[in-house]
Structure formats: structure tokens, C-alpha cells
Symmetry: C2
Subunit: 269 residues, 2 copies
């Protein structure tokens, strides 16, 4: 399995049950070699981010969405460890505030899009607005379809104005989530994260899966593709996300800016 | 001539030479009566803004664009005089900063869209990005067409999420601009406004007119119509803009929120 095989083809129908959550094949039999591979990816990502920043021309937007415990925070920590924080910003989108609810749902995310030379990571995103209200019945199907179109228009505009977009759905199984919630509950240092609300959302697993399938099917575009990343295995998940971001940045054909004419011969007084 | 006759029909071709800049027929023969009419409009606009704010449901976005000296500032001053400043915000968009140029051109305007219950006035707007670079040759025709589409998508999303949009092109003749620039130059209290750059832009009058014609033809939509307002006569201009904003707000069928049950019988201790 190659990382790029996780890409959702535009206008295809996604059935998450048919997509593996087990990424072990990506790691292979030699775990130490896979860890070394991830270290190599980190070095490469650091170089590419430096180049992105120096050139100051392109922008990279990374969107992370997932069921609870699938590892959004952990992915950010492991993939971007070592990358210069000056050029990477994480925007966390939680339940919207009254001020945010007073505008369209794209308002708060637009404020946080990357500037030229920057990487912005959306930890949750505008996609929450086609997931939570859909599952809770707060919006009708027609409104949901309208939002998919609005989101596609918005992302196309971002892409056309210089932003490279990669969207990752971290895909875990219901069994794996059970294990992780149990670990959260039973490990003293993790227990603070355990919230009864997690179980209420878990009870709606099938509804959320259906909502995600609809989102992935409707909003994976050439400009802003979704990747369904197997996430039961954390190392595999990190390898795939890293490899795909490297591929995206390498595709930009970036160059360091030309030095000023005569710079090499300028005496330093 | 009725105020609504200034509306640009979607997908129609606008030829500004064929549209009058003289609004005298709107004022009529009795100027005192017209001034009284404008006073009445102010009172009505104040009432409607209060209702908009109290209901806290709808949002009104007013976009003002025009050639130099056509009176954008003056329109804001005269139409909104008396309206509670708590519920009206003016956003002035000048030449973009380095920070703004580092994102898509809709980024800075999206940040200033009205919240529920608010009126936001864009004094210049995202339309500058399909006027100035087009006239200066900084963008190709194809890029310009792409921006029209992006703008239509953006405004449709705003409209679909609860924002009423009205766009006004204040239409003056080249002769009237000459008079106003001369007055600016020759009146000691106005001279500070006079800039040599004004004349450079005036020299590009035909190019800007063509750019405006393309914009008005491509971006007047059902959701976000343009009005070409005759602006040689300031009173007529103010009457038309006021009447159209009143019509837009009256069309929202707003109501004061229901008082809490039993409020009327609550003893005040």
C-alpha cells in the first residue's frame, strides 16, 4: 500500500467499512526501519518548510478530521516535531462561540488560512459544520448539500489564489476506539481527558460514519483532495501523513530566492 | 425614475454611457420636499436598524464603489446619520498591506462581514481587486473572469448564510468629477484632500469605466445585486441609496423578539 492510495477520487462514493483501518502493511515487518524512515521524513519536511518560508510564495493548508481518539493531536505532534514553529501555525476549532455563530461558518476558518510561506494546520475545521449539525438533525439534507458546494467553492478559491490543500481523515475502527477510551479511563495520567460526552458521541458511531462518508464523497476535489488514512497503527498513520505532505510540497517546484546581484562579492565591513 | 430602476439585471450587459449620471428627476422640482423626504428616510432607516439589531437574525452588507470624488464617504455620512453606531460598522479598504497581500484577496473583507443584527458598510471592497489590477495590467483577462466567479461564489455563500447584500456604484460624469477636483484644489478647507495621484487615475477614466462595466455585468446577481446610482446630484444619490436600503430591510419581514412569558406581570421590586 502506497501513501497516495489513500486519496479519495473526486466524485467517487466512499464506503468507510471497505477501507482498512489497519496500517500495519505500511510499517512492514521491520519496525526499527519504519521508525528510521519517519525520522528521515521529519528531516525532509523541515527542509521543505524552510524552503517554503524562504521562497514566500506558496501556502500549505492541512486539514485534520477524525472520530474521537483517532489521534489528531498526536499526528500534529509527531509529523511536525522538528519543523520550525515560526512557519507552522495550528488552529484548533472547537464548538463555535456566540461571536462565531453570528457569522457564516466559513468566517472563523478563513481568518486562519496560511499566509505566503506558511503551513497552517486545521485541527478540526469547517467540516465540523457538515458533521455535528447533520448528525444532530440541526440541518436538513438540502442545507448539507448546499454547504458541501459552498465548501468546494471556498477551497477552490483558496487553491486558485496560491494555497495547496491536503485533507486527512484519520480512520480508526470502533474496536480500536474502545481500547483507547479504556486506556484513557484506566491510565491515571490520561484520565483527565476522559469525558462522559465521549461515550454519547461513540453511541452515534454509525451516524458519524455515514456523515463522514457523505463528506468525503462530496468534497474530495482535484484542488483539495481527502485522504482516508488508516489510523489504528500510529506509526503507519504518521508515515502516511508525512509522506503525503512531502509529496505535496515537492510538487510545488520551489526555489530559494536569487541572491542580490553581487552579494557574494560584497565586503563585510 | 424609481430607485429600483437602478438595479443591474443579472447577466445583462452594462454600458455606463447609456446610464444617466443626472439624478435631478428623482429630486423633482420641489427641493425642500425632497430634503424632507430624505429626513423621513433617515427616521425609517433608524427604526429598521433598531429592529434588525433587536431581532438579531439578519445581517446587512452594503458595498460602495465609485470613481474618485463620486461621494462614497459623503453617502455614508448622509444616509446613516442618526442610525445607532452600535449596529453599523464601516470598513474602509485601502491599498492592501503586505500581510493582506500574503492571503487571498477575499481574506481581509471576510473578516469584516456583518454579524447577526449588524449593518456593515464596505467603503471600497473586494471589487478593487478586479478594477485596479485589471486597469494596470497586473492580471490577465482570464484571471479577472476567475475572480468574478470567486466573488459570486463568496457572495452567494454569504447570502445563503443570512446576509442581505446591496452593492452601489455611484455614477458620476467626467465633467462632474472635473468640477469636484477643481473645488478640491481651489477650496482652502478641501485642499488637503487633493493628491496628484487623483489626476493620474482620472487620465485612465475610460479604462476604469470599461473595468466597471465588466464588473457590473459579471457580478450583479439575484443574491447580491448592483445598483448604478446617478451621483452628479448628491441629494438624488442619497435619496436613492436610502430608499433601496429601506426596501431591502423591509423585505426581511423582521419582528421584535417575543417578551418572556409573564414579563408584563413581573413586579419590579
Amino acid at each position: 500500500m502506497r501513501p497516495r492510495d489513500t486519496r479519495v477520487k473526486p466524485r467517487s462514493h466512499v464506503s468507510l467499512e471497505d477501507v482498512p483501518t489497519d496500517g500495519a502493511p505500511v510499517v512492514g515487518k521491520d519496525k526499527a526501519a519504519a521508525i528510521a524512515r519517519l525520522d528521515g521524513y521529519r528531516v525532509r519536511l523541515e527542509e521543505l518548510q524552510e524552503l517554503l518560508y524562504a521562497e514566500g510564495k506558496h501556502r500549505l493548508l492541512v486539514v485534520l478530521q477524525a472520530m474521537d481518539t483517532a489521534g489528531k493531536d498526536s499526528t500534529i505532534r509527531h509529523v511536525f516535531r522538528g519543523v520550525d514553529p515560526l512557519g507552522v501555525r495550528v488552529a484548533n476549532f472547537r464548538a463555535p462561540s456566540a461571536q462565531e455563530l453570528g457569522r457564516d461558518y466559513l468566517w472563523r476558518v478563513h481568518a486562519h488560512v496560511p499566509a505566503s510561506g506558511e503551513i497552517a494546520i486545521f485541527n478540526r475545521s469547517h467540516y465540523e459544520d457538515v458533521l455535528v449539525p447533520r448528525v444532530n438533525g440541526a440541518i436538513e439534507r438540502a442545507e448539507c448539500e448546499r454547504r458541501y458546494r459552498q465548501i468546494n467553492d471556498f477551497e477552490r478559491m483558496l487553491s486558485e489564489t496560491g494555497t495547496t490543500i491536503r485533507k486527512f481523515y484519520l480512520h480508526i475502527s470502533k474496536d480500536e476506539q474502545k481500547k483507547r477510551l479504556e486506556a484513557r479511563r484506566d491510565t491515571p495520567t490520561k484520565r483527565w481527558k476522559f469525558q462522559p460526552g465521549d461515550l454519547a458521541v461513540r453511541a452515534q458511531w454509525d451516524d458519524y460514519r455515514a456523515a463522514y462518508e457523505a463528506v468525503l464523497s462530496a468534497t474530495s476535489t482535484r484542488h483539495a483532495p481527502w485522504h482516508v488514512v488508516p489510523a489504528d497503527d500510529k506509526l503507519a498513520r504518521n508515515l502516511i501523513v508525512s509522506a503525503l505532505l512531502i509529496e505535496a510540497l515537492e510538487g510545488l517546484d520551489m526555489r530559494y530566492p536569487e541572491p542580490v546581484a553581487g552579494a557574494a562579492r560584497t565586503p563585510i565591513i
